[in-house]
Symmetry: C2
Subunit: 249 residues, 2 copies
DNA sequence: TTAGGATGTGTAAGTTTTACACAATATTAG
DNA sequence: CTAATATTGTGTAAAACTTACACATCCTAA
């Protein structure tokens, strides 16, 4: 095979002089609609949930879909993700990170649309939904099936991303009230990682990391011996960030 | 703020009936040209390099840029990455993985272009470049500055991605000849991770992982005592993949 | 023959991880 | 008010892993 022959015409131009008119060049490129989808994981009553709406395409009638929208012309990708979340849910105090782009040519029934997935993790109780359009609701991650588009795949990859992420960054603290018990913290790791952890070892680990502030207060209204309450020491964490490259249960 | 008012017109449609004509919907979306850029890291003579070409835009005259091209209409993202690599370099036996999408509105001087970066790691000696258009060459990762577009940022993020990746997957074996010495393997980890490792501990670690096959052969033509040669046991690795979730030096 | 340079190897100390059980404290039901 | 139940809080020993470290071996080249 003569590989030189295969070079794209767009790139071939280089054999001539440099391209002066970048604008015309870009204008000549084929273009694809871009959406940004938000995969918002939430924790409530010991279950990991994800925020979904009902698809508005007849083609996917009745199926669930992620919160997404078209990227605006002059918008940063990340900015679009925050906008979408705000518009759909009313939330504005959530930290989003890019997971990856999904671009199979046939993932959208209306023609090619590439989507870029952003992910977050939050405490459902502390982030009240203010908008319920399109049946917006929290859906248990375990019971997902048959979503619209390739959204099942997007959720699965995001979940996997999250599991790794939570072992390197104290994302989990976003999920808890400011004051929390160690049991709550442990539940959270168990649910997200899908494993059971030893209580004593879990405590040992977190105390040794030294990011918990003992509040000398106790849970109330629990039907058993109340646990001690702690809060997360964000300042200390920021200073010692480097060490956090592995939680490893 | 009345957040309901802020919902995008495209999404508002849902308050009516389901959308039957997905094609018209997608056709009505604004679209953005998409490129795929390949960040190909190569290892040679104890240095980590990255494959670059000279930018063909006057706007970036003289600056280096990644190997990229426009995404074709019906092409998978990943497929585009493989195509670009083949067309630019003649290589076809390289494993590529997506790093992330870069989409700042002004990253391209000709208008908005979103790029999706794919990354790989290979052995320069074993992947001869067959095409040298646009001054294609291997560039030391340490001496990068002032690249075209946001390609410096793309390379930096890809490098960071690679450093994490190599600790979880035996990517590094792609960089070595089929038969390699432990010194070669160690150099490679040292260069990519940017640290010095203890020879005895390094050996212990790799032997304990049990993915090296002792070939009972020795290096030749080295100006010192020759080291033993090994090869990587890919089958065994595939079977025990799960355990590989941390190399951790 | 020797000097130089890189390979190959073991062990002890320190650290981290794992497994495991019982007393203390609150609530609830009787 | 007592007993039953549920959950918190705590320590230790064994095992696994990580780290630091030095010397004899083997080959080349002078």
């Amino acid at each position: 095979m003569n590989t030189t022959d295969a070079i794209s015409p767009l790139l071939r131009k280089r054999s001539g002089p440099l391209i002066a008119d970048a604008k015309s060049l870009v204008a000549s490129y084929p273009a694809v609609p871009i959406t940004v989808d938000c995969v918002i994981f939430g924790f409530e009553e010991n279950e990991l949930k994800v925020l979904l709406i009902r698809s508005d395409l007849q083609h996917f009638e009745g199926k669930w879909s992620l919160l997404g929208d078209i990227l605006k012309e002059t918008e940063e990708l990340e900015q679009a993700a925050y906008r979408i979340l705000l518009q759909r849910t009313g939330m504005n105090d959530v930290f989003l990170e890019q997971v990856k782009a999904f671009g199979s040519p046939n993932r959208h029934p209306g023609g090619r649309v590439i989507t870029i997935a952003y992910c977050s993790l939050l405490n459902i109780k502390h982030h009240e939904l203010k908008i319920y359009d399109n049946e917006l609701h929290w859906h248990n991650v375990k019971n997902l099936n048959d979503m619209a588009f390739d959204h099942k795949e997007v959720v699965d990859e995001s979940y996997h991303w999250l599991q790794k992420r939570i072992q390197e960054h104290p994302l989990a603290f976003n999920l808890l009230p400011e004051k929390f018990s160690l049991r709550e913290l442990q539940n959270l790791y168990e649910v997200i990682l899908g494993v059971e952890l030893d209580r004593r070892n879990f405590r040992k680990k977190f105390f040794s990391m030294d990011f918990l502030i003992d509040l000398d207060e106790y849970e109330e209204d629990v039907p058993h011996r109340p646990g001690k309450l702690y809060k997360f020491n964000f300042e200390k964490y920021e200073k010692n960030k480097k060490k956090w490259f592995a939680i490893d249960f």
